[in-house]
């Protein structure tokens, strides 16, 4: 995680190539996990579970929705940092 090259102060994530390498590994893992749904036989309790890619899609869509809704909520709920410290 932290390949420290002690004195010259360049760290692992300072190098963009390391970051993109890490991301590429991550994408490949995602692909493998998605493909696994078509290979591995899964014990299911609920019929939706046996839909290939259900968990993967649910996780992705849930998080995108979460962030988009949270951004909208921000428009309504966000105030200045000292909102409660000052009397109007």
């Amino acid at each position: 995680m932290d390949n420290k090259h002690n004195n010259d102060k360049t760290y692992f994530f300072d190098n963009p190539r390391n970051v993109s390498l890490l991301l590429r590994v991550f994408y490949v893992l995602c692909g493998i996990l998605f493909a696994a749904d078509f290979i591995v036989h899964r014990h299911t309790v609920h019929p939706w579970e046996s839909f290939p890619g259900f968990y993967a899609l649910y996780g992705f869509v849930a998080c995108v929705l979460l962030v988009i809704i949270a951004k909208e909520i921000r428009k309504v709920l966000m105030r200045k940092e000292d909102y409660y410290d000052v009397d109007e």
């Binding site: 995680m1 932290d2 420290k4 760290y11 994530f13 300072d14 991301l23 991550f26 994408y27 893992l29 995602c30 996990l33 998605f34 696994a36 749904d37 591995v40 899964r42 014990h43 299911t44 309790v45 609920h46 579970e49 890619g53 968990y55 993967a56 899609l57 649910y58 996780g59 992705f60 869509v61 849930a62 998080c63 995108v64 979460l66 962030v67 988009i68 809704i69 949270a70 951004k71 909520i73 921000r74 309504v76 709920l77 966000m78 105030r79 200045k80 940092e81 000292d82 909102y83 409660y84 410290d85 109007e88």
Partner: protein, 580 residues
């Protein structure tokens, strides 16, 4: 085997006294020895009498004889069954970790308060009757508030007062409920209560305030992030989990809890995504995690209840770890806003590693503690046919990974380099985090030891291909969403801000309403006064214009005017007489 009837809270209270009169190394030794020896004593010398049977008829174990008589009332200090023992172990572990984390602190108030706080939590867990529970319940409130006030800032002081008000209200509700309960049932024994009658609801509400039910949760997100760096580690462990214990004891299988819990699991994650104070993010994710436990208690089957308490066990440890890592950052950097941090992995690599372990645990990565506990609740929800609830929990599980699993470590330790260069956390903090991280991994990899401690019969193993695969898919694709949103610049930036929550009602609306109603009353007052004055003046003017005004009363007292008025009164009397 030798059975001890030493109430486990007692060493903590005695130690709190000893801490007052000692200093230096001796004080540190007392601080560490208390939870360590207390925990070992509990492990080796105290056994549950009767195994827990059935699910929603909690049969109480036969109590050990440790009671005290106060004003003719018997307080039951030692109700030992597998449920209370599990939380007893947990609170000893949590106290030990937090005490080691706080060992560098030279503040008698905080040290005494934290011992009393941990002791009260342990006392409450072993309380066999509602009055004993109430006493420790108040003990928690009164001791813990000092961990907030010790921060010394104006914000912390005000926040602490609001915190205390909520805690005291919770205590009052509990006492009121207990008295009505006694009136109706003729007993104070703390067993299954259920939502019947006023007593049931009052006690439910008391537990609900402490458990941060939706709309009653604002004290938690308000106060915990204002506490000291070490105080919030203590706070994160005890109060809310005691409430989970109390709900598991008093309200297992209460269907309402399923819906309350699902709401708790879902709504805070939206806040967590946009919150800037990373310790406040942790409090929102705490409510989210409590939601899972509350759902488990609501479902009420053996699997679900085991899931709830197992999750509480795992949660206390990884949540402490996360609060410790954020506390260490706050301690070194003096700031815990996501907007100002970044790149800290360079100066605090160990803290960053521990934070990632905590984050992986809360996200329920396979091999980490959250996975083996949360799986029980998810499986229980599915098996009992709560499909919508299951989908909500799945959403919450993805969400918690998103904000606690990724956001916390990412914005604190990675992200862009903030330029902050500091030191690694102090040794005592690193030791405490090592213990917590080791426990997270141990529970995650060897869940059979935790499962053996669970109160109800359990036949479950989380590591099968379907389950692990499903969990990995949901987590990896949540992470993929994070990467994608970041690459497209759609991820909301960390901003200096305050987000309105329920506390707005009493921090802004109520004072504003109070102020404006006082203003309204004031203006009404001036208005009515001026109306009265103006009327009086005009009447006076009319009267003066009249020739009779020379007989104006009390200007002088001419006999003539007296005679006139007496005449009028007698005349009036005559008329009234004639009338009636």
């Amino acid at each position: 085997m030798w059975m001890s009837n030493l109430p486990p809270f007692l060493p903590f209270f005695v130690a709190a006294l000893l801490v007052l009169v000692t200093r230096g190394y001796l004080r540190s030794i007392i601080l560490i020895a208390t939870p360590l020896l207390g925990g070992l004593h509990l492990w080796f010398d105290v056994q549950p009498f009767v195994p827990m049977v059935a699910t929603d008829t909690l049969v109480t174990a036969k109590e050990l004889s440790s009671t005290a008589n106060i004003l003719g009332y018997t307080l039951e200090f030692m109700r030992v069954d597998k449920l209370s023992l599990l939380f007893g172990y947990l609170f000893h572990i949590a106290a030990l970790m937090a005490i080691i984390f706080a060992l560098h602190v030279r503040d008698t108030t905080q040290q005494v308060a934290s011992l009393l706080y941990a002791g009260s939590a342990i006392g409450a867990v072993f309380a066999g009757d509602l009055i004993t529970l109430f006493l420790f319940w108040e003990g928690l409130a009164l001791s813990s508030v000092f961990l907030i006030w010790a921060r010394g800032t104006e914000r912390a002081t005000r926040s602490g007062i609001r915190y205390l008000i909520f805690q005291v209200i919770s205590g009052v509700l509990l006492l009121a409920g207990a008295l009505i309960y006694y009136d109706q049932n003729g007993t104070m024994a703390f067993n299954y209560i259920g939502l019947e009658g006023a007593a049931g609801w009052l006690i439910f509400l008391a537990f609900g305030v402490k458990c941060a039910f939706p709309l009653l949760h604002s004290w938690l997100v308000d106060a915990y992030p204002e506490a000291t760096t070490t105080g919030s580690v203590f706070l994160s462990a005890f109060s809310t989990k005691l409430a989970v214990y109390a709900l598991a004891r008093g309200y297992p299988g209460t269907e309402l809890l399923i819906y309350i819990g699902a709401t708790m699991a879902c709504f805070p994650i939206f806040y967590a995504v946009i919150e800037n104070d990373l310790r406040r993010v942790l409090t929102y994710s705490m409510i989210n995690q409590l939601g899972f436990m509350v759902v488990g208690i609501g479902i009420g089957t053996a699997l679900a209840l085991n899931g709830a308490v197992a999750h509480a066990f795992a949660h206390v440890i990884y949540k402490s770890l996360l609060f410790m890592s954020m506390g260490a950052v706050l301690f070194r950097v003096g700031n815990i806003n996501g907007s100002d941090l970044g790149g800290l992995y360079k100066s605090m690599p160990w803290t960053a590693t521990f934070c990632i372990i905590g984050a992986a645990s809360i996200s329920a990565f396979p091999l980490f503690s959250g996975f083996v506990a949360k799986s029980l609740i998810m499986s229980a929800a599915l098996e009992d046919g709560y499909n919508i609830i299951w989908l909500m929990l799945l959403f919450a599980a993805a969400g918690v990974f998103h904000h606690a699993g990724i956001k916390i470590p990412y914005f604190a330790f990675f992200h862009h380099d903030s330029g902050i260069r500091t030191q690694e956390a102090p040794t005592n903090m690193l030791i405490a985090m090592t213990i917590a991280a080791a426990l997270c991994l141990f529970i995650g990899m060897q869940p059979q030891y935790l499962y053996a401690l669970l109160p109800w019969q359990l036949d479950y193993w989380p590591y099968d291909v379907s389950h692990v695969l499903a969990q990995l898919q949901i987590l990896f694709f949540s992470a993929l969403a994070f990467v994608w949103l970041n690459k497209r610049n759609m991820y909301p930036p960390e901003l200096h801000s305050t987000n309105l929550d329920v506390d707005w009602l009493y921090r802004k609306l109520l004072p504003a309403t109070g102020k404006s109603s006082i203003n309204l009353l004031n203006s009404f007052n001036t208005l009515s006064l001026s109306v009265v004055r103006r009327t009086a003046n005009s009447v006076k003017k009319v009267f003066r214009a009249n020739s009779l005004s020379q007989y104006h009363l009390s200007e002088s007292w001419p006999t003539g005017s007296m005679v006139l008025w007496i005449g009028i009164m007698l005349g009036g009397y005559l008329v009234m007489n004639a009338w009636f």
